[in-house]
Structure formats: structure tokens, C-alpha cells
Assembly symmetry: C2
Homo-oligomer: 224 residues x 2
């Protein structure tokens, strides 16, 4: 499914070069349940943005379903993002002017799903993360953990084949976090691919393969 | 220091009333090290905003240093916030257009500290949270955990007597989180007051008094 080879990401800050990724080689097959575990600043979100086609590397090759992503035009990339990938952002990226229901329904607009079905599908996923009584709250009328769950619901509503989750339980207590992990387990049972990046060791241990990242490099790759 | 009595907070959503706080009674003395522990949506951030004079209750009384906060005018409230309280927000609230150094220096501008001293004090606190090599990065050039640490540094730079920390380690790995806890322990050793709200049981156990909150009510109050 995913093959990264020699992936580097550099940022130029005046005369200093920040190397967020220093040469990542990584292969993930369809149906895998993977965690990329590492400390703050180690390159996790940068790596996720590469995988989700939201950012391009400074060097290296990214093959997605054996196609070289750098050779796809922006329409093809947008199609991949909308149709195959569900992305849970570390800082949620919700639209402040829309309530929870409309935030979650938004990806279905782009797929031409009619309003009645959009609303009912969005409501169903929101109930699945315990927010059935918060449908009409806007993001600034929700707690931090509730916003995180709206972001999770939005990533799931299109029923994508690949879930990319950046710190999906950081704002959640143990019980809400557990409900989210159960959702990921159901997705894996359905044959989907789930890739989580996190600093949380206990969350990583719930997956089937853990890659440790530090300073922009993969240090270890362990399957359980 | 802090005395809450019968504090309620209600939000009207059409014909539904959301009760974020349902009657909070709570006293905290100067120099205490307190955690308010509860699940997502239980009212922690709402309670913090009351304590930090960022929001007003629907009912009840808040005495700060024996003064009734509801009888203070907005200038007096702003003075309290700027001079006595350091607030670490759950969603950081950094200015996107300023780099880390200037974000942290900003509270010192309001206190008339001259530029040379502002920059050196801001740099010192940033080095204390491990960001000495990220001074000139803007928030969108920082990782999630780095932004959290900038928010922490900004709360500390004015050397406030009361720290209010809303989920201060949610985006931090174990080691970065430990460095932040050590900073709180130093502040307590200096006689300051530290109040943390969190869903993280392990963080709460590092304090000296844990109040459990659920559905807008305090369930228990345990000192260790
Ligand atoms: N636009 C940018 N310009 C400069 N440096 C950047 C930029 N974006 C990220 N960085 C740096 O790249 C490194 C990796 O960032 P990244 O966001 O991938 O970390 P992370 O592992 O997700 O951390 P966290 O757990 O704190 O979210 C960090 O040290 C960060 O300061
Ligand atoms: N402006 C608002 N309008 C309506 N409801 C609100 C508003 N702000 C908060 N709420 C509701 O009040 C409750 C408490 O919110 P609060 O942000 O205090 O929770 P929290 O304990 O900090 O949760 P978390 O751990 O997820 O951050 C939540 O159920 C939330 O939906
Ligand atoms: Mg990150
Ligand atoms: Mg909160």
C-alpha cells in the first residue's frame, strides 16, 4: 500500500537547516494496524502529512498503491485524499462556523451525497463517539476532548480504506480513549488500514506493529 | 486564596440548557498543589476559566483573596489576570504571527519591561522547557508538543504567584511531560500556587490534592 524510500524533509530557517525527517524507509501493507511512536518534535506529524499527501518531501520517493505520488497532479492528489484516506489532525482543523454535525458531514458534500443522507450518516458516526447530544454545538461550544472526537468522526464518515490518526487520544480520558481504540479495532476487522502516530506508549501497544521514531529517523520496527 | 461557592454555569442551546457546572463549592489556599481530575466534558476548562477570571458564572460567588470577583470592574480583572495569574490554555492560544520568543515575551510588554530584558527572560524560560533551539519558529513551524511548551513558557515568564494549567501535558511524551512537572514542583517549592485540570490520572497523582469532577460536580476531594 505505502512505500517510503529515502524520505527527507528540511526547513530552511535563515542560515539554519531544520531536518524534520532525515531518511525514512518504510513499507506498510493494506490491512495493517501500525503505530509510529516517538517524543515531541521527532517528526511524527511531518511523516503523517507525507503519508496523507498533504505535504511533499525534500528528497525521496513515496509510492502509494505503487504509483509515485510526486508524479500525480493536484486533482489526482485531492481525489486520493477525499476518497481513500481519513485524516485525524493533531489540532483537529474543524470549521469554527459549522456545528459538529455539519463539520462531520462536510466530506460527504464533496462526494455528492444528498443532504438527508449526509445528516443521518454524520449523526451516526457522532453517536458512535458519544456526541449524540452535541450535534448542534459549534467547536467553541465544545470541550477539547469533544472537538477531538468530532475530528475523529469526520475522518470516519466517508468510510475510508486508510485512517491516518495524529495523536487521536491526546485530549481524551481513559474511557473516551478506549471507545476510540475500539473503533480502530473494528476498522481493522473490516480489513481497513489504520496508521497512528503518537507519543503515548500505551496506545502504541494496542496496535500490531510499532515503529519508533526519534529525531527524524526510524529507530526500530517491531511486530507483535 | 480562592473560594468558590454555589458556582453554576449554564449555556442555552435553543430549548436545551447545557449545565457545564452544577454547583461547585471549593476552597484552595495559597501554596497548594491541586489537580482537578475528570473525564472529557466534565467541566474542567469551564471551571478553569472561572478561576482565571476569563468567564463569569451563571450563579454563585467567587472570592479571590477575599474580594468578590463579580464586583470588580474589567480593568481590575485584567490587572489580576496579568499580574497574579499565569494561564496555560488547553488549546495554547498562541499568536500565529509571532515567533516563540515574542509570544513568550508578550506578557512582559504589558508590564512595561524593556525589550532587552523581555527577550532575555523569554529566552530563559524557553530554554527551561527545551526550546532553546526553536526561539524564532512561529507556531505553524512547531510541533504540537512544542506549541504546548511555548504556552507553558508564556504562563511562567511573568513569575506569577498562581499557575492555572489546563491539560498541560496532553501533547507531551513522558520525558517532556516530566520536565514540565519538575517545573511545577519548583514553583511549589517557591511558595506559589499550582492548579492543574486534567483527565490524566498519573499527572494528578503527582500533586498533593486531587478533586474529582464529573458532570459539572465535585465528587471527591482527597489530600495525600
Ligand atoms: N514549517 C516548519 N518550519 C521549521 N521547522 C518545522 C516546521 N514544521 C515542523 N518543524 C520542526 O520539525 C520537527 C518535527 O515536527 P513534527 O510536527 O513532525 O513533530 P512531532 O513528532 O509531531 O511532535 P509532537 O509530538 O510534539 O506533535 C520539530 O522539531 C519542528 O520544530
Ligand atoms: N459555549 C458553550 N456552549 C454550550 N456548551 C458548552 C460551551 N462550552 C462548553 N460547553 C459544554 O460544557 C461541558 C463542559 O465543557 P468543558 O470544556 O469544561 O469540559 P472539559 O472537562 O474541559 O473537557 P475536556 O477534557 O474534553 O477538555 C461540555 O459538555 C461542553 O459541551
Ligand atoms: Mg505532532
Ligand atoms: Mg477541557
Amino acid at each position: 500500500l505505502v512505500s517510503l524510500s529515502g524520505i527527507e524533509k528540511r526547513y530552511q530557517m535563515g542560515d539554519v537547516t531544520v531536518k524534520a525527517l532525515r531518511g525514512i524507509d518504510l513499507t506498510i501493507d493494506a490491512g495493517e494496524y501500525v503505530a509510529i511512536l516517538g517524543p515531541s518534535g521527532s517528526g511524527k506529524s511531518t511523516l503523517m502529512n507525507m503519508l496523507g499527501c498533504l505535504d511533499t518531501p525534500s528528497e525521496g520517493t513515496y509510492l502509494l498503491n505503487q504509483k509515485n505520488v510526486s508524479q500525480l497532479n493536484s486533482n489526482e492528489l485531492a481525489a486520493i485524499r477525499n476518497e481513500q484516506i481519513g485524516f485525524i489532525f493533531q489540532s483537529f482543523n474543524l470549521l469554527e462556523s459549522l456545528d459538529a454535525l455539519d463539520n462531520v458531514a462536510l466530506p460527504l458534500v464533496y462526494r455528492g451525497v444528498r443532504q438527508k443522507d449526509r445528516k443521518s450518516r454524520a449523526q451516526k458516526v457522532l453517536e458512535g463517539v458519544g456526541l449524540g447530544d452535541r450535534l448542534h454545538h459549534k467547536p467553541n461550544e465544545l470541550s477539547g476532548g469533544q472537538r477531538q472526537r468530532v475530528a475523529i468522526a469526520r475522518a470516519l464518515v466517508t468510510d475510508p480504506s486508510v485512517i491516518l490518526a495524529d495523536e487521536p487520544t491526546g485530549n481524551l480520558d481513559t474511557q473516551s480513549g478506549e471507545e476510540v481504540i475500539k473503533i480502530f479495532e473494528e476498522l481493522i476487522a473490516q480489513g481497513k488500514t489504520v496508521i497512528i502516530v503518537t507519543h503515548d506508549n500505551e496506545l502504541a501497544e494496542r496496535t500490531r506493529r510499532v515503529l519508533r521514531i526519534r529525531d527524524g529517523l526510524i529507530e526500530s520496527d517491531t511486530s507483535s
